[in-house]
Symmetry: C2
Subunit: 309 residues, 2 copies
């Protein structure tokens, strides 16, 4: 019993997909200047992040913050070895995104029927079918497709979401050619066993290296959920610098798990990330100062305070 | 690989030692009225907490906030089945505490030599020897003695603390008759494997049910560290309602892990605590309102926001 058994399952290296510029900023009310967004991406890649979700090709009527999507993509000075992804909710989005030459696109489906109906006005099955031509077009263009399974643990309308619903979405995504799925606890209600069950459901249709975790820290569970995911061998996580972002369905909610906190955890576990934590904290400071906000990362706040450790 | 193996180690029931009234309030600058402290204890026990660290019998010159220790203890309407503990840093403290009839006393020693020297002006070995008569007197009076091992993972002066140092303190505490040890990550720098190693060190001298975890959330790791502790079978944790408390050695630091967050985690894992989360959140609201502060518990903030889940 008293052995470090759990640790032995951990991967030796983890890939972090930095979603701050897209998922983090999309609900931000003040308009963030294009130059600020570009500078953020530059700082993130300089800190060692190798996958960055840059923007969203969605109607500016829905998400005005992302109206400068093409301008941001054009201004980013790309580094070899870094993958730049964009969200494309439909064929029109994909067509608009194509000129920006993303390395990867992201499509999404909810594991909750009520959430799907309320937010995109169609069933889960219909929503995924609608992505089929987007996926086909992207793959024909040599662009990788990731699928985000939102509300994979809980839904603001339905409550708990059964793992079987996650499996169903993963199955449908696999069927239309989505190459990777992210299991997203969109409202941050999940605890470790629930999150493991949702990941296991996705793993029935995808290999370990093509399943990632996306956790919000609304209830303070995100870092523990990352730990629980590592124990299953999951080695890819979406994270957001300084915890940028929030869930519009949970007032008072904190946002995505902070990249800094996850890096602190992983390095403490002896897991490589390729990320320079100090440079990452500076990137987080940069964007939070631009927004006039304090960091949502506890590790960043503690390290900024420069306590004597 | 893809099994819920880790979960199988978890205890089915966990005891939470609520330290908010003592460890949480001790560094609070504004004087908290005695009646407020008593009301807090009453609300905590009404919420189902069965172990409460009520106050400290320490010189009011050192900790003015605890100057009303005897008055608080006298005013608490005790409930059967609830254990009330107090901190007694020396024989004088024990003598003062005795009239208040605590069920348990807490003594402490650091696992860091530098911390011991700077804070209590003596070596670790000397500090523990000084407790020997306190322990003997308490046990002769039928009062249980818990020992807190502070800086068990990291120290603000020395940096990382080796598990061997924790084992040494646990050994010395066992030798003088301390019945239970709490492994405390006082400055919140620990990550799960480090915390497990520190707990393992204590487990060489104490059985599982007499070792507890005490984690600060300074770097956002506390809930993950609780999870990692559960995997070793640890079933007792110190927690602080609404995350009351902070570490004077880490500016900008958050305090003890919030009881609400740990209860949310444990209930999500199917582990019993006997605590009513709603009543607990109300207790946290009560004390934070009295202090003019917002809660440090993410679960409490999310649940107060009453999102539709």
């Amino acid at each position: 019993m008293n052995t470090l058994r759990a640790a032995s399952h951990h991967p030796s290296r983890v890939t972090l997909v930095e979603v701050g510029p897209r998922d983090g900023l999309q609900n931000e009310k003040q308009t963030v200047p294009t130059a600020t967004k570009v500078e953020l991406v530059h700082r993130l890649q300089a800190a060692g992040l190798r996958e960055i979700e840059v923007t969203s090709f969605v109607s500016p009527k829905w998400v005005p913050q992302m109206a400068d999507n093409a301008a941001v993509m054009a201004a980013v000075q790309r580094r070899p070895g870094v993958r730049y992804s964009v969200l494309t909710p439909n064929l029109k989005g994909w067509e608009a995104a194509q000129a920006s030459q993303p390395d990867e696109i992201v499509v999404f489906g909810a594991a909750s029927e009520a959430f799907s109906q309320k937010n995109i006005n169609c069933s889960i099955a219909e929503s995924i079918e609608r992505f089929a031509p987007v996926v086909a077009a992207a793959r024909a263009a040599g662009v990788k497709v990731r699928g985000a399974i939102s509300c994979a643990v809980g839904c603001p309308y339905e409550g708990a979401v059964a793992p079987a619903r996650v499996e169903e979405v993963a199955r449908r995504m696999a069927a239309i050619g989505v190459q990777h799925v992210g299991v997203a606890d969109t409202i941050g209600v999940g605890t470790p066993r629930q999150v493991q069950a949702a990941l296991e459901a996705a793993l029935r249709h995808y290999p370990l290296h093509e399943v990632s975790g996306h956790f919000h820290d609304t209830y303070g569970m995100a870092v523990a959920n990352v730990l629980a995911s590592l124990e299953l061998g999951i080695a890819t996580f979406d994270t957001s610098v300084s915890g940028l972002g929030g869930c519009p369905y949970a007032r008072g909610a904190t946002g995505n798990v902070a990249t800094e906190d996850v890096v602190y955890l992983l390095h403490g576990l002896g897991i490589e990330t390729g990320v320079d934590l100090d440079a990452l904290i500076d990137a987080g400071l940069f964007i939070r100062e631009a927004l006039g906000q304090t960091s949502g990362s506890r590790a960043a706040r503690a390290l900024q305070a420069r306590c004597p450790t």
